[in-house]
């Protein structure tokens, strides 16, 4: 079992696996995302209370899901960096942090635009919105810290510690709507219980969530490959790979 785990840490092995899965991730992600969004925008019925403004949910919820999932994945990778000193884990953290920042921003932005017609305000300092804003700053902090340290190894460790410290924010985001009084309503899209949504709205939401996850998988592979090329360009296997014309 440990042998397989250590093989996971090999950049060369990763390059091969990524090349094999990437076309599938891209095609599946785009098909599911486009299907989910078109269905949600044009074919799903309007909501009895909010009318058509609720259609923002089809991008708001997937973005918010990914913003939190990416952070959890980064935290797991940070444990691997600190305990096993695996280079690939650090490559992952460095490659996906900007993507996490993007989705956190999108969740906050779409939430604000959605809040105006439904709640009557763009922003309110409730626990859900504030903890999500802290997540945005955490992503920004991770990126800035990584850029400010030149030595690759020290940067990897400092970033891993920061990511782990920030992980306590994740349960706060998730349970803020249950623990405290907030303007934000509790979760609609639940995996463990019956969703609080009509099926003809829930299925397109599920499609766009899955689609965005797959698209993220593709994006993560691509960005990790770029980072590996930069870091390992002096090694023989990268030289052979590049000269053989394999991207």
């Amino acid at each position: 079992m440990w042998q397989f785990f250590h093989k996971l840490g090999s950049p060369k092995w990763f390059f091969g696996i990524a090349n094999r899965f990437m076309p599938w991730l891209l095609a599946g992600g785009l098909i599911l995302l486009v299907a989910g969004l078109v269905w949600g925008l044009a074919f799903a019925p309007k909501d009895y209370l909010q009318g058509n403004s609720y259609r923002i949910i089809f991008i708001h919820v997937p973005s918010a899901f990914l913003a939190q999932s990416i952070y959890i994945m980064m935290a797991s990778a940070a444990v691997v960096t600190l305990v096993w000193r695996m280079k690939l884990a650090d490559v992952f953290v460095k490659s996906v942090a900007p993507v996490g920042l993007l989705f956190t921003f999108l969740a906050l932005f779409t939430g604000a635009v959605w809040g105006k017609p439904t709640w009557g305000t763009w922003w309110v300092w409730d626990a859900r919105l504030t903890s999500m804003l802290i997540l945005l700053f955490l992503y920004g902090g991770v990126i800035a810290l990584d850029r400010s340290i030149n030595d690759e190894k020290s940067a990897a460790r400092a970033v891993a510690v920061l990511v782990l410290v920030g992980v306590v924010n994740i349960p706060i985001i998730k349970y803020s709507v249950n623990w405290w009084n907030t303007l934000h309503q509790p979760a609609t899209f639940k995996l463990t219980e019956k969703p609080a949504m009509a099926m003809e709205m829930w299925v397109p939401l599920l499609l766009s969530v899955l689609g965005l996850y797959l698209l993220f998988g593709w994006l993560a592979c691509l960005r990790m490959k770029t980072e590996i090329l930069v870091r390992e360009r002096r090694t023989r296997w990268v030289k052979e790979l590049v000269l053989a014309g394999r991207k």
Binding site: L41, P45, G51, F109, L215, L219, E240
Partner: protein, 77 residues
């Protein structure tokens, strides 16, 4: 279709500006990230390739062995 006409689809009963702003920003930023990441990968790849080709201009595919071989030849001169 949940809408009677295309103009009703765009108007979304008055919520159009909110909905379309969100979708536009989402599509632009996600597509932009995908495009920019792909472009950066291409650029990095070509930079590596140029670097290797400068190291051994003949473009031989077995880098290390070729390098040793050349050096041996030169030293014999």
């Amino acid at each position: 279709m949940a809408f009677e006409s295309f103009s009703a689809f765009l108007a979304m009963e008055g919520h159009g500006p909110y909905v379309w702003t969100c979708y536009a920003v989402f599509v632009i930023l996600v597509a932009g990230t995908v495009f920019w990441s792909a472009k950066r990968h291409q650029a990095t790849y070509h930079m590596c390739k140029r670097g290797y080709e400068q190291e051994n201009p003949k473009g031989q595919n077995v880098p290390k062995a070729a390098a040793t071989f050349t050096r041996v030849e030169i030293s014999q001169d």
